[in-house]
């Protein structure tokens, strides 16, 4: 055994057997002394002198014993253990204090941990790809179309890929809007019930760009990507497990997806997802090669690239700018002002939720500080009551360092207990947070309480005592304080407690202002008229597989048959269908020419359009403002008609009658047919309740076919029965069809507010806790003040002071730091509003009403906290107060 290990082992053993070894050494020393005494006696000294000589020769026995004790064991550990034992005893002696402190810390640390677990999932946890920092999203930008981060057209993607020298490769996947993943609904049949799945069209090189090899089988070849004929599919691990029981033999087998057979060529590993966790399987984008040469006008590809080693984002951006510049020259009619924006892939995924998450992190940080201030205050109050105990310990030889160490150890015990409880809270809250956050965080993020989150929680627990424990410990162990006889708080303690109250109030008011802002914002949002009536409407999506429904006439027949059957069900009032349902973050836009307004250089490039059945407007209760709605007679062989929304009418036909005006869904130079406006309907919110309605044109489904469609069914039945009858009727038309995204319309509306709800609920909860803590703090300090001055107050009352005057005096005493804190807090909140401006809806962040509301709320809470001690002060019995002395 190496010497150091022998020593360590011996010291560790000594720690355990400290008392026995001390006794042992005592006996050894006595034996030694006796031998020394014997020796001196033999030399002829009288017994007294012999003992004296022996003691002299041996040296200070007490000191030697103590030093021996320390050298034998691990004095630091021993002292710490002692401190812990002592601390636990002290905390047990004062259970009310301990419980309040631990619970408060648990709330602070638990809330911090919960928010961190979300932030970590979205912003910090590395994506499960090889060297994910080198992955870059490539967006189209175009000031003419208000694009800053748009999806790309296939031909632009192909040119970028061919011409660049900065990326090892560039892959693309279907993405129909800049929010969702662009996965489309597809049905797996032949495996029991038809199963609605999300499939994502990708270029074959996607997996090599991500650097993830398949778990089983292979990925797509270039030919499969580009010849447009391949029917191959790659499964995610989850689908492989759920639908095929993890059978590796599935590779090479054929499966039926929406009526077509596909060969399974591979399975991805367990951790793999792209770009969200909602995608079940991958298919090649499978466009004809010509698409990648010619299609520069539709934009529907998400593009992702891997930077070559040694190439930075800036250099890549420069080169892509140059490529975009030359494409602009080569294709002026499509690429005018078309630029390129590069963004780290992870940043692009976290782009939308980042501001809200940063705001929430800040808010929970403020809450944490309030928790610390509150406990510091409790500690100061308690330390004053412990003056006697500390003075005795000092008298018995404990140095100031030792006292501070003892007090800080106590704080650490509290904090670690609070942290453990807080982590437990975070575990319990996880499901709720995940659900609440579901529509506020991107689909790739999975909230896990993994090691970084645990470390964060431990870190907070260790950090907290620095904030709440050290200063009170230093103050209360001051020697001059301990020499004071009584328990009157020293002036610096009183000042510190006042400061802490002011700080707590200031921090709380920041949170309260935030909560009021988000709360008003949310109320505003809920009051927004979506333009339709979401109540009693059930929606579901239905996609007709091209294999079984090759042409528009077949599809129309099936869609209309289903709608007719739905409408005839008892209890169903009306039914309709639409190509893109409102508030699903999803619209189709395209070129449009307004007759008499658009010119060859200036036409509408991003007009929203959707196709509806005649029953749609009625079912959604969308108000007709002028003209007429669609009728069954608006067939393909009749003149083309359109219904437009108010926003479109106002934008293009202000002051005129829009009925009879014409437009076409194409550029001015194109030869498409003119479409006549026959009706104007109320604006229906499309992108979100917090978005201004954009111009929108509707076409009749018979004149402009779309697939898939979303059905809307209005009925007097409950949600589940409507879903059941819809499923029954759809399968009566075609046994292999499956409904997807079945949801009541009011859920669709409510989900569209998910991110607002998430931040409103969290900040509101934080503000509530902050107020409660501030009230506790104010109450504690004031109650202490009253108990300290009971005698003075009693004498005043005895001498005829009016109770109201005493009441006012106590409340005034309590409210002074509150007023200071509130003023500071309001100023801080005002300074911080610019940070949250982008997160608000319909509320001015500097609106005085908000600040007034926050101040009044805080004032009420503070007054309530002051009132109890103040009332007690007016009831002090002078005799009792005097007798107390």
């Amino acid at each position: 055994m190496p010497v150091w290990l022998a020593v360590a082992w011996s010291r560790l053993r000594a720690l355990v057997a400290a008392r026995r070894l001390d006794d042992d050494f005592d006996r050894e020393v006595s034996a030694h002394m006796e031998m020394l005494v014997d020796h001196h006696l033999r030399r002829g000294l009288p017994p007294d002198a012999a003992r004296r000589a022996a003691a002299l020769e041996f040296g200070g026995a007490m000191q030697i014993k103590e030093r021996q004790h320390d050298r034998r064991g691990l004095p630091f550990v021993e002292t710490t253990l002692q401190d812990i034992r002592y601390g636990l005893r002290a905390l047990r002696r004062n259970p009310a204090y301990s419980v309040v402190a631990i619970a408060t810390l648990a709330v602070g640390i638990g809330a911090g941990t919960a928010v961190f677990s979300v932030a970590s999932a979205v912003l910090l946890r590395p994506l499960p790809y090889q060297d994910p920092a080198r992955l870059v999203r490539v967006f189209e930008t175009n000031p003419l179309r208000n694009w800053s981060r748009n999806i790309a057209s296939p031909a632009n993607y192909a040119d970028w890929r061919r011409r660049n020298t900065v990326f090892t490769d560039m892959a693309a996947y279907e993405q129909f809007n800049s929010l969702g993943s662009g996965a489309s609904e597809i049905f797996l049949t032949g495996q029991g019930e038809p199963q609605g799945l999300k499939s994502l069209g990708v270029t074959g090189n996607l997996f090599s760009v991500l650097g993830t090899p398949p778990l089983v089988g292979r990925t797509f070849t270039d030919e499969e990507t580009f010849d447009g004929k391949a029917r191959v599919v790659i499964l995610t691990y989850g689908l492989w497990q759920s639908a095929f029981a993890g059978d590796p033999g599935v590779v090479g087998r054929s499966i039926t997806l929406s009526g077509r057979t596909y060969d399974v060529v591979g399975v991805m590993p367990r951790d793999f997802f792209f770009p969200g966790r909602d995608v079940h399987l991958f298919v090649p984008v499978a466009y004809q090669p010509s698409v990648f040469v010619r299609n520069r006008r539709p934009h529907y590809l998400g593009v992702i690239a891997r930077l070559k080693a040694g190439v930075g984002l800036e250099r890549a951006q420069q080169e892509m700018n140059a490529i975009a510049g030359s494409l602009e020259k080569e294709h002026p009619d499509t690429n005018t002002k078309m630029g390129v924006r590069l963004e780290r892939f992870h940043d692009s995924l976290a782009y939308t939720p980042r501001p809200a998450l940063l705001m929430l992190s800040g808010a929970v940080g403020v809450l944490f500080l309030i928790v610390c201030a509150n406990i510091a205050n409790l500690q100061l109050g308690r330390a004053t009551a412990r003056v006697r105990e500390l003075a005795i310990r000092q008298a018995l030889g404990a140095g100031r360092r030792r006292l501070v160490r003892q007090l800080v150890t106590e704080s650490l015990i509290l904090s670690l207990a609070g942290g453990a409880l807080g982590f437990a809270l975070a575990i319990f809250a996880r499901a709720a947070v995940q659900q609440l956050a579901a529509s506020a965080i991107p689909l790739f993020a999975e909230i896990r309480l993994d090691r970084p989150v645990m470390l964060f929680c431990v870190g907070l627990s260790l950090l907290a005592p620095l904030f709440f424990g050290v200063l009170p410990a230093l103050l209360s162990s001051k020697p001059e304080r301990l020499n004071e006889r009584g328990e009157v708080a020293s002036r610096d303690t009183r000042f510190l407690r006042g400061t802490l109250i002011a700080a707590e109030v200031a921090l709380s008011i920041v949170l309260v202002v935030g909560a009021v802002l988000f709360g008003r914002s949310f109320v505003q949002l809920q009051a927004v008229d979506p333009g339709f009536d979401q109540n009693r409407v059930i929606t579901f999506e239905l996609s007709l597989p091209a294999a079984r429904y090759p042409n528009s006439a077949d599809r129309l027949r099936a869609f209309e048959e289903i709608e007719r059957r739905l409408r005839e069900q008892p209890g169903v009032q009306s039914a309709g269908a639409v190509s893109t349902l409102a508030l699903r973050g999803y619209t189709w836009t395209g070129d449009a020419t307004i007759e008499g307004r658009s010119t060859n250089t200036d036409w509408e490039r991003e007009l929203r359009h959707k196709s509806v059945t005649p029953g749609y407007f009625k079912t959604m209760n969308i108000r007709l403002i002028a003209g007429r709605l669609f009728v069954d007679g608006d067939r393909i062989d009749q003149p083309r008609v359109t219904v437009v929304n108010e926003a479109l009418a106002q934008r293009y036909f202000r002051g005129e009658d829009p009925i009879g005006k014409r437009l076409k869904f194409a550029r001015p130079q194109d030869n498409d047919a003119w479409v006549t406006v026959v009706g104007v309907v109320a604006n229906e919110k499309q992108d979100g309740l917090d978005h201004a309605p954009a111009p929108q044109a509707y076409s009749a489904i018979r004149q402009r076919m779309q697939n898939p469609l979303t059905y809307v069914v209005r009925s007097t039945l409950d949600d589940a029965s409507v879903a059941a009858l819809a499923r029954r009727e759809v399968q009566a038309v075609d046994r292999d069809l499956a409904l997807t995204s079945v949801a009541p319309m009011r859920n669709v509306v409510s989900e569209s507010m998910g991110d607002h709800r998430f931040r409103t609920v969290l900040v509101g909860a934080f503000a509530g806790v902050a107020l409660l803590l501030a009230a506790l703090g104010i109450y504690g300090v004031l109650a202490y003040f009253v108990s300290q001055r009971a005698r003075e107050l009693g004498i005043r009352l005895a001498l005829g002071a009016r109770p109201q005057a005493v009441f006012t005096m106590v409340v005034g005493q309590g409210m002074r730091p509150v007023a200071v804190g509130a003023a500071l807090g309001l100023a801080a909140a005002l300074a911080l509003t610019s940070v949250v401006r982008s997160l608000l809806f319909g509320v001015d962040p500097v609106d005085p009403g908000t600040y007034a509301a926050a101040s009044v709320t805080l004032a009420i809470v503070a007054l309530a906290a002051c009132a109890i001690p103040a009332i007690r002060a007016t009831r002090v019995d002078p005799l009792v107060a005097l007798r107390d002395e």
Binding site: V29, E34, F58
Partner: protein
């Protein structure tokens, strides 16, 4: 050399204890202290208590072992004995000391000349 007590180096005392135990066999603390004083012809006046720091150090390193026993005049006392690794250590340290002492002697003689 006025204050011999403070001039004893830690390692020196350890080495003396080891050598004493090697030469005398198992011995109690008092015996070791007394023996060292005698050998040094009282040039070395120990606070006898300090011997226990050395004994603890040697025990922690497992160079000596300890056990309670009975002394010549029938008193209970703790006896220390050198161990096998203690003996190895003694050999190594003694050689080292001799080397240093030799060098020191030569240097000092040189200075005298």
């Amino acid at each position: 050399m006025t204050d011999t007590r403070s001039d004893i180096l830690q390692g020196t005392l350890d080495l003396m204890v080891l050598q004493t135990l090697e030469a005398m066999g198992p011995l109690h603390g008092y015996g070791i202290a007394r023996r060292i004083e005698q050998i040094s012809e009282d040039a070395l006046q120990l606070n006898q208590g300090t011997i226990y720091a050395a004994l603890l150090r040697l025990q922690q390193r497992r160079w000596i072992s300890a056990a309670w026993g009975t002394s010549d005049n029938n008193r209970k006392a703790k006896f220390y004995a050198i161990t096998k690794s203690g003996r190895r250590q003694l050999g190594a340290q003694a050689r080292n000391w001799e080397r240093i002492a030799g060098v020191m002697m030569r240097v000092l003689k040189l200075a005298e000349r």
